[in-house]
């Protein structure tokens, strides 16, 4: 037994106090820039704030804003658009990202260059991308339309953005182009953690490419897939730049999604009360997704803890 006793660890409360002191500044900033706006948005959602009234004259309407939103035709239309936009954007961005990641995970000449090229859409500013695509798609003078006419595919430029049936799919294409690189990076990082010996063992056991992909690669990508999909879902639910710049939600609301509808209500129509209620609904959806995101992130930690 040593004559010198080991220094006594500080009491638990003191350690906790220090921990809290470290996170307090960040917590304070969060409360100020996130907590207060959330509180104020929820508070405002119970009031009617027509453009003709000053904010201090707002009228308390209880849950009326929520009832009006949920009962309105436009909400159903916008929600359906948001669903289509989010699901298809996420699905195709993930699929394309997975394909690109699988390709880039193999050794080939020019892999580094290809990786750089495929990252370009992700690093291009959203506003620039939206304007460029708007001109590519332009119904009268767009490059795509001109090319299709020149090649004899169509007799007049295809109407991408000024048609209620084609506008949303056209915007989804742009969105997928913009964000598949993100999925690619995430999945590529995941692929590089798959032990090589597992592939070799599978090959010894006679597993073909498909079986190796399905039974070796995909199980190892499960966690990163969940996180990537959740992040894409959240990003797509929050999308604003592409639909707003390219179409402003039109024509006739065919490309209006939740965020553009909220923006329009708040800043074009100056109806902060109803826009707040809309935001709270979106917030609840996002919180639910956030819950699953955190669960996915901490699943491994919990398993290890057990």
């Amino acid at each position: 037994m040593s004559l010198l006793a080991a220094p006594k660890p500080p009491p638990r409360w003191r350690r906790l106090l220090a921990d809290y002191a470290y996170v307090a500044p960040a917590l304070g900033v969060m409360l100020l820039v996130i907590g207060y706006p959330i509180y104020d948005t929820v508070y405002l959602s119970f009031f009617n704030t027509p453009p003709s009234l000053a904010m201090e004259d707002k009228i308390y309407v209880g849950l009326d804003n929520y009832a009006r939103i949920l009962a309105s035709d436009s909400f159903r239309e916008v929600t359906w658009n948001t669903f289509i936009w989010t699901v298809f954007s996420t699905f195709f961005a993930f699929l394309l990202g997975l394909g690109a990641a699988l390709s880039l995970n193999r050794e080939f000449i020019g892999r580094g260059l290809m990786r750089g090229v495929l990252l370009v859409p992700y690093v291009v500013s959203g506003v620039s991308a939206a304007y460029i695509w708007r001109w590519l798609y332009h119904s009268d003078f767009g490059v795509i339309g001109a090319a299709s006419v020149a090649l004899g595919i169509t007799d007049r430029p295809f109407n991408f953005l000024d048609n209620v049936d084609t506008v949303l799919p056209s915007l989804i294409v742009v969105n997928v182009w913009k964000e598949f690189s993100f999925a690619m990076i995430m999945l590529l990082a995941g692929l590089q953690t798959v032990p090589d010996q597992l592939y070799r063992a599978a090959m010894v056991d006679g597993a073909g490419p498909w079986h190796r992909f399905w039974h070796v690669t995909m199980p190892h990508l499960k966690s990163v897939t969940i996180v990537t999909v959740l992040l894409l879902l959240v990003a797509n639910l929050n999308s604003f730049i592409i639909p707003w710049i390219m179409t402003g939600g039109g024509p006739v609301g065919a490309s209006d999604i939740w965020i553009t509808a909220i923006y329009q209500l708040a800043f074009e129509r100056v109806r902060f009360g109803i826009a707040s209620a809309y935001s709270v609904i979106l917030f609840i959806v996002m919180m639910a997704m956030g819950y699953f995101y955190v669960k996915a992130l901490t699943r491994r930690d919990e398993a290890e803890a057990r």
Binding site: N48, P50, P51, S52, L53, A54, M55, D57, R68, I69, S72, S74, R134, H138, S139, D140, F141, P157, N159, L161, D162, N163, V164, M246, T247, G248, G249, G250, P251, V252, G253, Q264, F267, E268, R269, V270, R271, I274
Partner: protein, 498 residues
């Protein structure tokens, strides 16, 4: 001066005009016109020639006029927000802005001005936020309809022309209407403008039309547009129908009013803004004309549903579009585009500029109409002003900036003086000599109709009206259904619905 011109000026003789203070008399001395014309000026007389004839007939002394309002040695402080020249503005705008501030400092050397030159797209939201946080400026210059929202919320101080030594009759009645809320005046018009029809004479000739004659009526315009498309393959008329874009109502409402329609009753001599006219026969006829061009004849850009006027300028300068409703500054914008073009593009652009013409916007069954645009100066309510409102400094500044001299100079490239005497100054004469077609766009002023002066006007014009157009043009609804749907939405908005 012809008898007709003299009559238009309310019976004033040339000597009286040269005498000086006839700005008030220009409108006030014309009771007959005031009764027959909503702007107080006889549209038949206020021709391009007439506008040119009165320019340069009056001398003004701004400092002397201002001294009668607030002594020139007054010591004070002013905060001021406005949309001034930016990087993209022509050099002349920047020079005039600098000259203005230098001249004000010279006239009122003891008034300190803290000014903010804001981006147009940011100013409204920034001012709304500032007013909510009691951090508004003392004075702001707003585009014509922004003020009503602030007035309705009690965030503006009542402020009338008499507060700065002018009279109501010094300004267009339409402009005064735009600063009036529930019978009280809340600002002074700084500048006013109206648009006109611009066309490419070469495309008219190629389509077998008289290159120097614009369509006289909107029905003619539909026919011209179709002919041009058929004969040249180019788009006839630059229809604009994007939602949430100010360009859309500025181009569609003149058509709607011309056919006898309206959103509310804003086109009536004494509007109440309580009567919905968006689904009357005239409104349906106007929408039908747009439908005919877009759906039936395919004679306008397919991209009209997502286009703003900016997207019309490129095809126009490229010789791919024959007609559009243009701002007074459209010619300068085209010149600018032509200067930037290179190679073969430059040849085409130069040819388009040479063939560019301006004419009156077509008539409809009911009238000839155009949106009455411009800006107003407002004084904020002391309750929402950042610091203490210095009313005398505000009065001095507004008297100086909205008087005949500076309301003319500050509107140099893209508008017209708000103060009617400005039309008779030497600076107006200089503008008319420098800016091609300015006399044409200016002569549309008596046909100007302001958008309804109600807080929901923005929603009606930027959302309901474009939605109505898009519902019909995408065939989601019939023309009648689209107008009825718009009427239902306006009724809902008036009743406080979503």
């Amino acid at each position: 001066m012809t008898d007709k011109e003299q009559a238009a000026l309310g019976g004033l003789t040339r000597r009286q005009l040269m005498g000086g203070v006839a700005g008030a008399g220009l409108v006030a001395g014309m009771p007959a016109f005031a009764q027959t014309s909503r702007t107080g000026v006889d549209a038949a007389t206020w021709t391009p020639e007439f506008v040119s004839s009165i320019a340069g007939t009056v001398q003004v002394d701004t400092a002397a006029d201002c001294a009668k309002v607030v002594p020139l040695n007054y010591k004070g402080r002013l905060t001021y927000w406005y949309v001034g020249p930016n990087e993209a503005s022509p050099q002349i705008d920047k020079d005039i802005d600098a000259q203005f501030w230098a001249a004000f400092a010279k006239t009122y050397p003891n008034i300190t001005v803290e000014k903010q030159n804001l981006d147009y797209n940011q100013m409204l939201n920034k001012t709304r936020t500032a007013a909510l946080g009691n951090a508004a400026p003392m004075v702001a210059k707003f585009p014509i309809l922004w003020g009503v929202e602030f007035a309705a919320k009690g965030q503006l101080s009542p402020f009338k022309p008499e507060d700065v030594g002018f009279t109501m009759a010094d300004f267009w009645p339409g402009a005064m209407k735009s600063v009036t809320w529930q019978g009280k005046t809340y600002g002074i018009p700084t500048n006013n403008e109206t648009m006109a029809l611009t066309w490419n004479a070469a495309l008219f000739a190629a389509a077998g039309l008289d290159p120097e004659k614009p369509p006289a009526t909107w029905d003619d315009l539909v026919v011209y547009s179709k002919l041009i498309k058929e004969k040249t393959g180019k788009n006839g008329y630059g229809l604009v129908a994007r939602t949430n874009a100010g360009n859309t109502p500025f181009r569609f409402m003149p058509q709607l009013w011309a056919y006898g329609g309206g959103a509310l009753d804003e086109s009536e001599p004494d509007p109440t803004y309580k009567k919905i006219m968006i689904n009357n026969e005239g409104s349906r006829a106007a929408l039908q004309a747009s439908y005919d061009m877009y759906v039936r004849d395919r004679s306008v850009p397919v991209s009209a549903l997502t286009n703003t006027q900016t997207e019309n300028q490129d095809p126009f300068i490229a010789g791919q579009l024959a007609m559009m409703i243009g701002h007074p500054s459209e010619y300068a914008a085209m010149l600018d585009r032509a200067k930037k073009a290179t190679g073969d593009d430059k040849k085409i652009a130069d040819a388009v500029v040479a063939n560019m013409r301006y004419g009156l916007i077509p008539k409809g069954a009911a009238r000839r109409a155009v949106v009455f645009g411009g800006s107003n100066a407002h004084v904020f309510n002391p309750k929402v002003v950042d610091g203490k409102l210095d009313m005398d400094a505000a009065r001095a500044f507004i008297a100086f900036s909205t008087g005949p001299e500076w309301s003319t100079k500050l509107a140099w490239t893209n508008s017209n003086p708000g103060h009617l005497t400005g039309f008779r100054t030497s600076w107006m004469k200089e503008r008319l000599e420098q800016i091609r077609f300015l006399n044409v766009t200016t002569s549309m002023l008596p046909n100007g109709i302001p958008f309804p002066v109600v807080p929901i006007s923005g929603e009606i014009m930027n959302i309901v009206v474009p939605d109505m157009m898009q519902n019909a043009l995408t065939k989601k609804m019939t023309v009648a259904q689209a107008t009825d749907d718009a009427a239902r939405k306006i009724k809902g908005l008036m009743g406080g619905d979503l």
